[in-house]
Amino acid sequence: MYILKEWKEESRGVGIWIALAISCVASMFILVQSRSFPSEQGFEAMLLSLYEMNLYLIPLLSLFISSLSIVSEKEQKTLMIFLTKKESYRSFLLRKSIAVQTVLIGIFIVWNFVLALPMKFIQPFHLKSFLAYLLAIVVLLFIFNQIGIFLGSFCKNRLQLTGIVIFSWFGFLYLLDLVFLYLLPSETKNTIEFFSAFYFLDPLHTIYFYLENALGLLSLDHLSKIVQQMVWMSPTYYLFIILLIWTVIPFELAVWFNRKGEVE
């Protein structure tokens, strides 16, 4: 029921279609640009460029769409109706999360398979690489949808939500790395593992690292000692650990800091 409701709401709204349209136009430019890539590994380079483009779009779009989905439940008082039907907020949030994730991830998976058609005309298609790219996109969507659900649960109104979503997006994309960049010169061999833990806690770093490795563009075979200290686990493990962390923590925070129907 939740999934069907979510699909109807999303498909009738403009948010998801605007998101797709932006992704479509940006992807076209990447595809056009990638015609000049070298033939071998050109497909992988194209996927990496597409991912880099999505790095700007997906966090912002999924934060907005998923958080607005929760805020709409509050504004339309449907949340109150759900909660009076012997349903706890945790149970509501779980069902809502499943619905939002299914709809948004489903739409993006379909879109990426559509995009795979022109890809085939540009570079030799490698299914394994494409699936790795798709996994990276799905994990990126999943994490930022979950953060969006937390923000929607936390915020009282759309205005507040807009501000927090933009700040979160800016924080993930720019501020966190800026902090890392200013901290970097003070890092020594003794503190590098600590630095590594924080570095890979940032989903944008981990997913990119996983994708580069999965596409065969980054080898972990002969790294310098400091990088070996930094990377002490397989990129796939890093990916699933941050997926777990960034699913559970925002969900629990959303349950604890919820403002059920506190709409201004």
């Binding site: 640009q33 890539f37 071998e40 590994q41 380079a45 790395d177 970097l184 770093h205 080898s219 310098s224």
Partner: protein, 441 residues
Amino acid sequence: MKKVITLFFVLMGIWIFYSPFASAEVSLQQQIDITPANGIIHLDNKVYSGNIVIKKPLTIVGSQNTVIRGDGKNNVVTIQASNVKLESLKIMHGSINRNTLEEYAGIKITHANENVLKNIGISDSYHGVYLDYANNNLIENIKVTGLGGNKIGEQGNGIHLNFSNHNRLFHSKIKETRDGIYFYKSEGNKVSDNLVEKTRYGLHYMYSDGNQFYHNRFTLNSAGAAIMVSRHIQLKDNEFSFHEGPKAFGILMLESEDVQVVNNQFFHNVRGIYIDNSFKNKVKDNKFSLNQVGIEVLSSSNNQIFTGNRFFDNTAPVITDGVRSYNSWSDKGRGNYWGNGFPLSDLNQDGVGDFPIAYKSSLYKLLNEHELAYLFMKSPAISLYEKLGQLMNGQDIMFEDAYPLVEQKTSFPWTWMSPFILAIGACYLLIRRRRKVKCTY
């Protein structure tokens, strides 16, 4: 009964001591020994035992599955004579012993000239092909496969030239060895149309002058080509791609002079070209795209000329160490094309921008301060970091191009993209129409 027991032991003895290679082993070396000079030996589709030593001019031609297998204790094939030709062979299981002065190889040509190695696969050996004081040899269509993975450092090089001059290395593939092609005091060699991938240095190069490299592809190595202490080298129409890692580069020029880097492609490297303590090199008409740093030039390097190069979507097109050096970013009124990040006008339409451009950056400090800085070079925050550097006067001039080039706009490929765009538009209209129909009902 006694006869039966005796027969049993005789048969057991034959079974235990019989080796399918034993007769081939003897026969191959014997065949070589009994074949007259300039004779031809045709080998069957089977495994022959090495190791073999060739001391006279002759030709050995294998079939599709002819294998010469060494005993793992020496070179599999040693050529000590000139005018030897080996063709269509698979060579394997040479010694990988490193505790000796002998540099073992699948094929070792030593003090011999004018030999030909053609259509040969080499695996499970320390070096693939080793040329030791060997001149004017032709090595064509050789495939050397190393141990790969973490064992790269435990083995030798794909093709190793030691004091070997005027050789031709064509159409070969080298994969997962320590260094792809290694030059030591070897001059006048021509290397073209080779593929070197997943090695440490694709090309490792010491004290070797006057060599030429055309149409080669170096990819997915720890580093592309390290050219050290050498002069008068030509690198033309090669590709250096996907060299990732903190210290990785497409080409390193260290203490090198008069290296001509012309019309190469540098794609997806941490650094396209890294120049240290080198002089009078010319970097012309190359394409640098999607590298973290296009060209890194240290102040110890002077009198380089950079002209006609095209830079696209690199995080930083040029990085220096912030100290002024004397390199020229244009030649005879022709600078470089710096990409969309450097908007230019060209009112007189002569292909050269109407004003000079200078590029300032603070990234060099970051890159010099910590090895891990490269992890952030693809981050969106880098542009913000540069802006902050600009606001806080932390930037230094990386290059000044008096004659920046203006690239002609490429047109959008409507012919093959339009059906795709139309299909998406049609889907959208279809959905809208269906919705309208539902609303009407």
